[in-house]
Amino acid sequence: MGKRLIYGALLLVLLVAPFVGYPMFLMKVLCFALFACAFNLLIGFTGLLSFGHAMFFGFAAYVSGHAAKVWGLTPEVAVLAGTLSAACIGLFTGWLAVRRQGIYFAMVTLALAQMIYFICVQSPFTYAEDGIQSIPRGKLFGVLDMSSDTTMYYMVLAIFVAAFALIYRVVHSPFGQVLKSIRENEQRALSLGYNVDHYKLLAFVLSATLAGLAGATKAIAFGLATLTDVGWQMSGEVVLMTLLGGMGTLIGPAVGAAVIITMENYLASLGSWVTIIMGCTFVVCVLVFRRGIVGEIEHRLGGKD
């Protein structure tokens, strides 16, 4: 009952937010919240640290941007195209990456992401340093004009809510239980007869697809897809958002994303200090705040009773 109340309240807040706040900022928070929640599927619920998630986010952004700008597709189709491209990359990289565990897995994902980054630098369709600019928002389903920031916001919100609901269902399903058991003790899961590699790959692809959804949506909302979206700093950022918010909790990553994006926005004028602060947040979280914001709250709740 308590959880439902929280979700309901938050949904209400999100529904009225564009009339109180700045829609562009809110959309950014939502896109990154989705990105972080998708990432959390892998680390929080399956125990796999991917250090290259930007490849899904950024590549989907490029594909979606290209689809909308060059092929002239409507926004929902463009986003779909981007999401599918992320799924494909997820399948390919996941298949390679699950061959290793733990640290090696993380390093492999990092290296594969860097490979995708350089491929993006070389590919003509990404326009390298310039990025894909002036991506049109188009008309949703061919009818609804998306040029208003508020209208665009509701599309982004709808995507976020749908994806979040999906993650919720997955986590609470039998599939999700197996993932958690793999996180806790892979050997035991194996000995119970589960094809651990298949489950890991499935989780990886799902996580990649949703991360791609976030990136594809971001490209349409902001009209820009650049190398920053596929860079390793972006991969590191999403890790930080999830760590700060609370790995393994459902809304933790979203909260972490909100905090980090807000911080970046207000401290933008400080330039490199943002990087320094992010680094410090990492260090502090790893040393003394491993449960993250939501994780800490949940722990206190559980402990007090």
Partner: protein
């Protein structure tokens, strides 16, 4: 106990969120017709920091101060931001400036990728965007924004027309390009290739390097093995400096000539006269041209401790021109101000009879310089010998040749 905690947790979270959301909302609606707010967007710490950077901000502030600091009784505000050469940061900042912070005009806006983003945004929001430090000719052609976008200093066509032609005339008829892999580099390579071929030369090939490359050795090796007489550097700022230094280290200049297609005074300063001497380059302005330029440069040097380059001078000149136009028009409405800017010729220390054309191009004279040898130079910043003055109409592409679709209607 638990319910209270949960409730307070929700309340706290919502409060934090709304606080973040509403403080951004509070800034909305400050845009007033009376107060003029200017944004200087540039690279403050990266490969182009010496081109624009803090010097550009200082130049804009100097213009505001010399104008009197006030417009119709209200103080003129200058804000600035560092885009770190990333178009997404540039777009974010400029969007917020236009949407929420009441900025009326942005100036500087190097590099070319940023300039394209900002100009498109200015067109969308109907705000004046003045680009000085970026060079791609796409600004007044494929990506033009006639009612709002201004391209003030130089472009890749002018650069190739002046430097390219001069070098081919000198005997450099086979070229190999070292190109910065983004809008600017591609434009410069394309425009210079056309000039070279039109003058009867050949282009043997090109190699692309990422923006802000530290080590040019492997690219220069490719240039060396091409056998071309001239290695054209289609890059700028720190990249040009590093290319030239590496070329010296590898002995490239023993058998081939270097052509720095875009080089500013601050680059020559970084390379040093020993290595840079003899290089041909073109700029739109130089501090030592005449008494007016010298006087202004002295004022700038007093504040920044170094002489200004042509980009800094153009920021000053364009900002002043804008402010005068606002004053003459009596409003900061974009269309009215733009008309005044186009109708009034620019006559200041930066240009004589400079003209702002409908496609956004500001046409002014360009100068061909050759870098002095250490013996010829009388001191710091005394680096150039003037080799020729090229009239604006000859250097820049004519209006008739423009590929700006919006103008043809």
């Amino acid at each position: 106990m638990k319910r209270t905690f949960v409730t307070s947790a929700i309340a706290a979270a919502t409060a934090v969120f709304l606080a973040g959301v509403s403080t951004s909302a509070m800034a909305q609606g400050k845009l007033s017709g009376d107060s003029v707010k200017i944004g200087v967007l540039t690279d403050m710490s990266g490969v182009y920091a010496d081109y624009g950077g803090p010097g550009a901000v200082a130049a804009a502030k100097m213009a505001v101060k010399d104008f009197g600091g006030k417009m119709f009784g209200k103080p003129i505000e200058v804000v600035n931001a560092d885009h770190q050469n990333k178009p997404d940061i540039a777009k974010n900042v400029t969007q917020q400036w236009f949407d929420r912070d009441g900025v009326d005009m942005t100036v500087e806006n190097l590099n070319s990728a940023v300039a394209l983003t900002v100009q498109a945004l200015g067109k969308e929001k109907n705000k004046i965007t003045i680009v000085t430090g970026a060079a791609t000719a796409r600004m007044t052609n494929e990506d033009c924004a006639p009612g709002t976008g201004i391209h003030y200093l130089m472009d890749t066509i002018a650069l190739s027309n002046v430097v390219g032609k001069a070098i081919v005339k000198d005997g450099g008829d086979s070229w190999f390009f070292l190109t910065a892999d983004y809008a600017f580099g591609h434009s410069l390579e394309k425009d210079t290739s056309e000039v070279v071929k039109a003058a009867g030369g050949t282009v043997k090939g090109a190699v692309r390097h990422p923006l802000s490359t530290g080590d040019f050795s492997s690219f220069l090796l490719q240039a060396q093995s091409s056998g071309a007489k001239v290695v054209g550097l289609a890059n700028a700022g720190g990249d040009t400096v590093n290319s030239i230094k590496a070329a010296a280290e590898f002995g490239l200049t023993k058998k081939q000539n270097l052509a720095a297609l875009l080089m500013l005074l601050t680059d020559v300063h970084a390379i040093g006269l020993n290595t840079a001497q003899g290089l041909y380059l073109t700029e739109g302005w130089y501090w030592d041209l005449n008494p007016e330029t010298r006087a202004w440069s002295q004022k700038y040097e007093a504040e920044m401790k170094k002489k200004p380059n042509s980009n800094h001078a153009s920021v000053y000149s364009s900002t002043m021109h804008y402010l005068k136009a606002v004053q003459a028009a009596g409003t900061d409405d974009t269309a009215a101000v733009m008309k005044k800017m186009q109708d009034t010729p620019i006559n200041d220390m930066f240009a004589k009879n400079g003209k702002l054309r409908p496609d956004g191009r500001m046409v002014h004279d360009m100068y061909l310089f050759q870098v002095k040898s250490p013996a010829e130079s009388k001191g710091a910043w005394d680096y150039y010998n003037l080799k020729g003055t090229i009239k604006g109409d000859d250097a820049f592409q004519s209006l008739a040749q423009s590929r700006c679709a919006a103008l043809k209607k």
